[in-house]
């Protein structure tokens, strides 16, 4: 078994969630006529020790995902234009575009880019189109259960916000207002 | 006219229910008769081939087509006849007999179901 120590990471589990949400905001900021997502999903933290060995004891990997609704997923704008734009955007940003399996005939497939901070962005064009943000393995935060409420990155109605329903602490002001998908700057959490 | 403790009744609807029940009785007789013929034919074939399933099929067919289904159609007829009487005159369920259908029901409503059929039934 590979006993190399885990790589240095700049953030831990608790800090990761706002960072991932910001990554989504940054991504959609470069997408014109953004129609808004339909759903937001937070996957359960994955224990890294099982896959990577004892040296990763106390490390977890996180993943959040946003999905477009049916009509938007079928639209040329989302399926093709956004895919091309993201390929350009991520390349220009110096990200490691390590996966590009978009089929030129069908437009289906995955586009994945890893940022310098180790965060992986995964754009998938399938029956629905989705954007996921993955941390890879990062140190778990002691005593951390789940994040405090973070507003979704745009367009997600409270009833479709699966993450808010069971994967984060409830919002202090749970009025359930719809988030304006085009007001992403003001609604965004920020990590400096 | 009313049933034993009737608060309200639409006699025509009750008559319709009777007709449906008698229709079910007849339909089941027809369905089961056809099934019995085919099952008994197959039973004969397999019995001739020295298969134990031949006689056993006859046993099962007799049980189902005669004992079980006749029991059921008898009960459907019994319910229909009670309702036919109920539409005409108040009769408590516990007091009902097949004779009541022959004497109290409007037999003109049920052609083909002559009173003698009812009288031939066991007096429930």
């Amino acid at each position: 078994m590979d006993q190399d120590p885990p790589p240095e990471r700049d953030f831990d589990e608790a800090a990761a969630y706002p960072l991932m949400e910001q990554a989504v905001l940054d991504t959609i900021a470069g997408l014109p006529d953004f129609p808004g997502f339909k759903t937001r999903t937070y996957y359960s933290p994955e224990d890294c020790e099982e896959a990577l060995g004892e040296q990763y004891k106390g490390w977890v990997s996180l993943e959040i995902a946003y999905t477009f609704d049916g009509p938007d997923s079928e639209s040329e704008l989302v399926r093709t234009t956004y895919t091309d734009l993201l390929r350009e955007q991520w390349t220009a940003a110096g990200y490691d575009l390590h996966q590009d399996s978009i089929d030129s005939a069908t437009g289906r497939g995955s586009l994945e880019a890893k940022r310098q901070d180790g965060i992986n962005l995964w754009w998938a064009v399938s029956g629905s189109v989705s954007l996921a943000v993955q941390t890879g393995c990062i140190p778990a935060t002691e005593g951390f259960d789940k994040p405090d409420y973070l507003p979704p990155a745009g367009g997600v109605l409270p009833e479709n916000d699966q993450a808010a329903q069971n994967r984060m602490n409830p919002p202090e002001d749970s009025t359930g207002e719809v988030i304006d998908p085009f007001a992403s700057g003001s609604a965004s959490p920020s990590v400096d | 006219m009313s049933g034993a403790d009737v608060f309200s009744m639409t006699p025509e609807k009750v008559h319709e229910a009777v007709e449906v029940l008698f229709g079910i009785e007849a339909e089941i007789d027809t369905l089961t008769g056809g099934l019995r013929t085919e099952t008994d034919s197959a039973a004969t074939t397999f019995a001739a081939a020295n298969c134990a399933i031949g006689d056993a099929l006859t046993t099962a067919s007799d049980f189902w087509c005669v004992q079980r289904v006749l029991g059921f159609t008898g009960l459907v007829g019994n319910l229909g006849e009670y309702l036919a009487v109920c539409a005409e005159q108040a009769v408590e369920i516990d007091d009902f007999t097949a004779h009541d259908f022959a004497t109290l029901a409007d037999l003109d409503r049920y052609p083909g179901r002559a009173a003698e059929n009812a009288s031939a039934r066991p007096d429930w």
Partner: protein
């Protein structure tokens, strides 16, 4: 008792059994329609409360409902289970026997012939064959088996000896054919006798029918309703114990034929039987099993506290020595209870964690004894457009059920995320088998091969998985699309089941498989085009694949299925083996699996 002669087996047209079974099927449908006319047309329409209102009217409606229920129960118990199913089973078995007999006849024709009665059939050398042996005009096979080259055929003595030897060989072959013939006829007689026994049992203790309207109706009604409740309870016990001939589809038919009151009565009286029975709707089983689990946690917790207090007391007053047997028995009971309690709380915690997509977790089955079993669904498989049944592998038990449900939850969330909007997907984590505890050989007076290197546990799992799939299919409200997903040893289970049964699933995905117990994908009942396999480079399972002990490598081109890529998530063979469903890491295989499950591939 069956007197079927081999000639009867040869000449009888057993397809008549299937034709008759189909005829009973049509009849059952027609009769069920008549029962529905009573409830829908008579009770709900013509005799509705608006048309007929009084206590008598209530009694009449109740009687009509009883008649309809009684007919449906009878149709299920007698017409469906005892007659139609028996005809179908007997047809299948006798057709198989007939085919074997015809094959044997084909082999022996010209050289041997059948003799004897129905109970003692045997094979003898035919007259023509004897004549050819006398003329030393025999087949190469007979000559070779006899060793004819060792005889001097150039003199009379040598030829005589050769003829005797050839005849002895032919008679030995006839004796071997006799054994084959007897085996075929014994199997046919058993099938025939079993069928006759079931069909004749129909007259044993027939169930009560509702009483007629008339004298003493009220008293008779009470007796009937008590007998009917008992009848349902007995039937439920037969179904749960496997004593009934009914399949999971039959269970579903029966359950649907019950009234709401009858269902509630059975759930209250026998929740453990209802909760564990394939064919009963998933939501019903979930409600029953969640209650049973909560009750079990309370009951085992209370009993543990009680025993612990007693043990402490015995230790304190020294009676642990004087009553050593009681002390030991209590310790043993405490150990078993603690296992059961730990398993139950682990399962409850997994359920409480919820799913990624927010879909409810349904507890479809569970057993907390020993390693424990559980069947948990993310979403309702009875209403979902797509369903995946995920069978985990080695070391799976209730101690790590949270991770297993998490894997199912990831698959389900992926299917929703990559699927088509409006098409729901449910993913069932099926751990209703004794998964191997280990995959690594240990030395104990020589190498002790681990459970995962043998297929016994997969073989044992087959009927249960097949029944579950059938029950789920029957309970589904419409056209279902089902994918059977196995991981590691779970693929041995899925493969062995699909090789043995015509499973109620459309596709198979095998992830990190040591083999599916077959050599080609076409041997699986979903068909080779619907088998999808993946294995990441460096997965430790490659060692098992190389042995071929569980069948051919499903990712090989010779196997004949579809293969898709998986990235190695993990930096050791064992890590990679368990990393396929790990979220938070890059793995395009998740997208592929979601597309297969949601019907976007193939």
């Amino acid at each position: 008792m069956s007197d079927m002669h081999w000639k009867d087996l040869k000449e009888t047209d057993f397809s008549a059994l299937k034709t008759l079974a189909d005829r009973w099927g049509t009849y059952i449908n027609d009769m069920t329609a008549q029962a529905e006319i009573i409830t829908e047309d008579v009770v709900k329409k013509r005799l509705s409360v608006e048309n007929f209102e009084s206590e008598t009217a209530d009694d009449v409606r109740h009687q009509a409902d009883l008649l309809a229920d009684s007919l449906q129960d009878d149709l299920h118990e007698y017409a469906m289970v005892k007659i139609k199913a028996t005809l179908e089973d007997t047809h299948d078995e006798l057709i198989e026997c007939q085919a074997q007999l015809l094959e044997l006849i084909d082999v022996v024709t010209g050289e041997y012939r059948f003799e004897g009665g129905s109970s003692d059939p045997y094979v003898v050398v035919s007259d023509g064959h004897r004549e050819r042996i006398a003329a030393l005009d025999v087949s190469d096979a007979l000559a070779e088996r006899t060793g004819i080259s060792g005889f001097n055929l150039n003199d009379d003595a040598g030829r005589r000896e050769a003829k005797v030897a050839l005849l002895e060989t032919a008679e030995a072959i006839a004796a071997e054919f006799t054994e084959v013939l007897k085996a075929i006829m014994t199997r046919a007689h058993h099938a025939d006798d079993d069928a006759a026994s079931i069909l004749k049992s129909i007259v044993d203790s027939p169930a009560e029918q509702p009483p007629p309207l008339g004298a003493t109706y009220d008293d008779l009604l009470d007796d009937y309703e008590a007998a009917d409740a008992e009848r349902n309870a007995v039937l439920l016990q037969e179904l749960a114990s496997g004593d009934s001939e009914a399949t999971a589809t039959g269970v579903n038919d029966w359950w649907n034929s019950l009234s709401d009151d009858e269902r509630v009565g059975l759930i209250e009286a026998h929740p453990e039987l209802v909760g564990g029975l394939d064919g009963i709707p998933s939501a019903t089983r979930d409600g029953v099993n969640q209650d049973l689990l909560a009750n079990e946690i309370t009951a085992t917790g209370d009993r543990i506290a009680e025993i612990q207090a007693r043990l402490d007391q015995m230790l304190a007053d020294g009676s642990n020595s004087s009553n050593a047997e009681e002390y030991r028995d209590l310790q043993l009971e405490l150990g078993e209870l603690q296992t059961q309690h730990d398993n139950a709380t682990s399962l409850q915690a997994a359920l409480a964690a919820g799913s990624e997509s927010g879909e409810p977790l349904l507890l479809i089955d569970f057993d907390t004894s020993s390693d424990g079993n559980a069947v948990v669904s993310v979403g309702d498989p009875d209403t979902a457009h797509h369903t995946a049944v995920y069978v985990p592998g080695t070391t799976s038990d209730l101690g790590n059920v949270g991770g297993l449900v998490g894997d199912a939850s990831t698959l389900q969330a992926d299917a929703e995320r990559f699927g088509i909007e409006g098409e729901q997907t449910a993913v069932v984590m099926w751990l209703d088998y004794d998964a191997p505890d280990n995959a690594v050989p240990v030395m104990q007076d020589g190498p002790l091969y681990p459970e995962a290197w043998r297929d016994e546990q997969a073989i044992d799992a087959r009927p249960g998985l097949n029944s579950f799939l059938e029950g789920m299919d029957a309970a589904h409200g419409g056209e279902s699309h089902t994918t059977l997903v196995g991981h590691s040893y779970g693929t041995v289970v899925t493969g062995a089941t699909a090789a043995e049964y015509q499973i109620a699933a459309d596709q198979i995905i095998d992830v990190a498989s040591p083999g599916l117990t077959v050599e080609t994908a076409d041997e699986l009942s979903v068909g080779g085009d619907d088998v999808w396999s993946t294995r990441a480079e460096g997965d430790v399972i490659e060692l098992a694949v190389d042995t071929g002990a569980m069948g051919a490598d499903p990712t090989s081109s010779e196997f004949g299925g579809n293969v898709f890529d998986a990235e190695a998530v993990g930096d050791s063979g064992t890590g990679i083996h368990s990393g396929y469903l790990a979220d938070g890491n890059e793995n395009a295989a998740r997208l592929t699996m979601a597309e297969i499950i949601t019907g976007q591939r193939g």
